[in-house]
């Protein structure tokens, strides 16, 4: 009997080709779409794109692709868990002056565990997703490696998934480029072949996170009024629109004129102030890390690795130090705009070995 694989179907081109490849590998596939969000609940839906993953039109596309390949498709509702574990956290992080990464959180706390659980319920041995990354086995241990398409590589968002799920996960797109994926989809005349790229944050239909936070949590944000903009000496040089409207490293919209461009350097939610400085003042060579997850056995410290501190960012050499339960990363060259709340992701060459959340 063929082994069964649960394929995560978003209704986009990547998951459609994932399904195709799983079938080509000889598995019996089951398509599942996780419904994570109801756009109509929090404004912005008038700007909803057809390809927003939880929109009915996307789910319909997923169903059509599955039917064309003779695969059953089901939608499973996880809106409650997504709201609690991802969206609430997203808002809370901004309210605390930090910059969250909801995709990482969703993968870490919802997607993988849930898909594995559903796979077990449906008698499937594996799950498959359309992430651009690879899983390789060596001596019975499974590792995540970056995707061959380095521009598209998505291993960064996978650092938080539970290590034990790697053996049950198939990532069939890791050796393809996005263009190749589209070509395969066109060749097979899949409904999703020319779907545009999905937007940055799936639950914010208009991609306007500032509006979203205000409408989603008026109780937490209404009191955040205009605040002071300070220079590096702590002197007021202007006013800000309320600290939640800024992220570390932001250049535009600061509203203070200066000879050289100014960037947001620090955000203080307690005093509702932002501190700005010139670019060279935003470089730091160290940060603290919390909420670590290792995708290998926890190494011994200090530990030399490559670190990536933002999606699509480059990787830098660094050393992780551990003191009791505190982890500190020291970079060999200073890094621009190390942003609290964002993920710091660890690699050994092209192997993803873990990650954590940046603290200052």
């Amino acid at each position: 009997m063929k082994k069964k694989v649960l394929v995560a179907m978003s209704g986009g081109v990547d998951s459609s080709v994932t399904l195709l490849r799983i079938i080509e590998m000889g598995y019996e596939a089951i398509g599942v779409t996780m419904k994570l969000w109801e756009y109509s609940d929090v404004g912005g839906a008038e700007n909803l794109q057809e390809n927003n993953c939880c929109a009915v039109s996307s789910i319909n596309k997923a169903k059509m692709v599955c039917e064309r390949m003779g695969v059953p498709h089901y939608t499973i509702d996880f809106t409650e868990s997504f709201k609690k574990n991802v969206v609430d956290n997203f808002v809370d992080e901004y309210v605390q002056g930090r910059t969250p990464n909801p995709c990482v959180r969703c993968n870490s706390f919802i997607k993988w565990d849930t898909f594995i659980e559903q796979a077990e319920i449906l008698g499937a041995e594996y799950i498959a997703t359309g992430h651009y990354a690879k899983i390789e086995e060596k001596d019975g241990t499974y590792y995540i490696k970056q995707g061959d398409d380095t521009k598209k590589d998505q291993s960064y968002v996978l650092w938080g998934i539970p290590k034990e799920t790697l053996a049950k996960t198939i990532l069939p797109l890791g050796d393809l480029t996005k263009e190749q994926v589209r070509d395969i989809a066109r060749e097979h005349k899949l409904e999703t072949a020319d779907e545009p790229e999905s937007m940055e944050i799936c639950f914010i239909a208009d991609n306007n996170y500032k509006r979203f936070i205000k409408e989603y949590a008026p109780d937490k944000t209404a009191s955040i009024k205009q605040g002071q903009t300070l220079n590096e000496d702590g002197e007021q040089i202007g006013e800000n629109d309320g600290y939640i409207n800024y992220t570390i490293g932001q250049r535009r919209g600061i509203g203070v004129s200066n000879e050289k461009p100014l960037y947001v350097k620090e955000i203080d939610s307690d005093t509702n102030t932002i501190t700005v400085g010139e670019k060279n003042s935003l470089f730091k060579d160290t940060c603290k890390v919390k909420g670590l997850n290792w995708l290998i056995n926890e190494p011994e410290f200090p530990y030399n690795i490559l670190c990536q501190i933002r999606y699509n960012g480059s990787r830098a050499e660094a050393v992780i130090h551990k003191q009791q339960d505190d982890f500190t990363v020291n970079f060999s060259t200073p890094q621009l705009a190390i942003t609290p709340g964002q993920s710091i992701v660890f690699y050994l060459e092209d192997t993803l070995i873990g990650g954590g959340i940046i603290e200052l």
């Binding site: 419904k35 009915v56 509702d77 319920i121």
Partner: protein
Amino acid sequence: MSNSPLYFDIAATTPLDKDVANLMNTINLENFGNPSSIHSFGQKSHNIVERSREKIAKILNCKSSELFFTSGGSESNNIVLKGVLEKGDHFITSSYEHPSVLGLTDELQEKGIEVTFIKPNQDGMLNALDIKKAFKENTKMVSIMYVNNELGTINPIKDIAQFCNEHNILFHTDAVQYVGKKNINLNDSHIDFLSIGAHKFYGPKGIGLLYCKSGKKVNPLISGGGQESGLRAGTENISSIAGMALALEIAHNTYDENKKNILELENYFIDTLNKADINYRVNGSNRLAGIFNITFFNVQGHSLLMNLDIMGIAISYGSACSSGSANAPLALLEIGMPKEEAACSVRISIGKMITKQDIDKLIKSLSAIIVRIQKK
């Protein structure tokens, strides 16, 4: 045992009867005339519509002038609720009605209509006295479903209609799950309005009926060319109207035979289930033959549905939404079932095409899934 998919969801919709399909095809190809046209083409179509109306009137034992063709149960329910109730009226319904009734109540309340919801008892039925107790000076209408779609339980419609009549209150029943399965005599009832959908008795989708007792006034939802005595404008769906009439006739002529068969299958289902050593509970009493709501303890209904579907067997869980995900069935929560149990309850409905072999296959698959899931 055949390998074609098995369908245990006739409470959602039935397949189209072959004779009905053939009749509809013929009419679609040969009788395209507009029933309102004066020429022979129009006359032919007109006569098909009116003969169908008379056929149905005979079966339901009412006047043909009391029957109005609509697009289905939901539309019929909408016409009555929106076309009868006015600001200041009091309206009584149950808390486990079909969404085409429950979903309107917000709108009615906004319009200034007072709504009282009566809860069903633990057995899945409404108590006629509970409804009577809710009567007020300004109660204009009561709307109670004949058979609950999730549980298959039959409500004491006769008593409720009687109470309403005694108090000069209009009575509407959504009889979508009832008509076509059991006999009904409208002449001998105090039902003022009744909704029917053809696709629940092997008729076509998109066609239904509204029965309005003579002299009971309803305002139209769709106005226009004056069709259906002005109650429902729009060129008549001739083939579907004739298809519905034939489907109802076939159902009517086979009530007894069908009931006997289905009861036999029901008993066989329960016997086999008992032998399979599965922990279950059938929910609700006074059920319509062939509709089961069953709790399989510790097995999520949605999981069971998906697993059975993969094995080629269709059952129902909860109320599907447009995305295809599902929530625990509202009716079960309304009869006081704990949420965890409601989430473990599915609906299995047995139609006339089901055989004992099919039931064997269903239970074999059920056991295999339940054993596997419960092990986890």
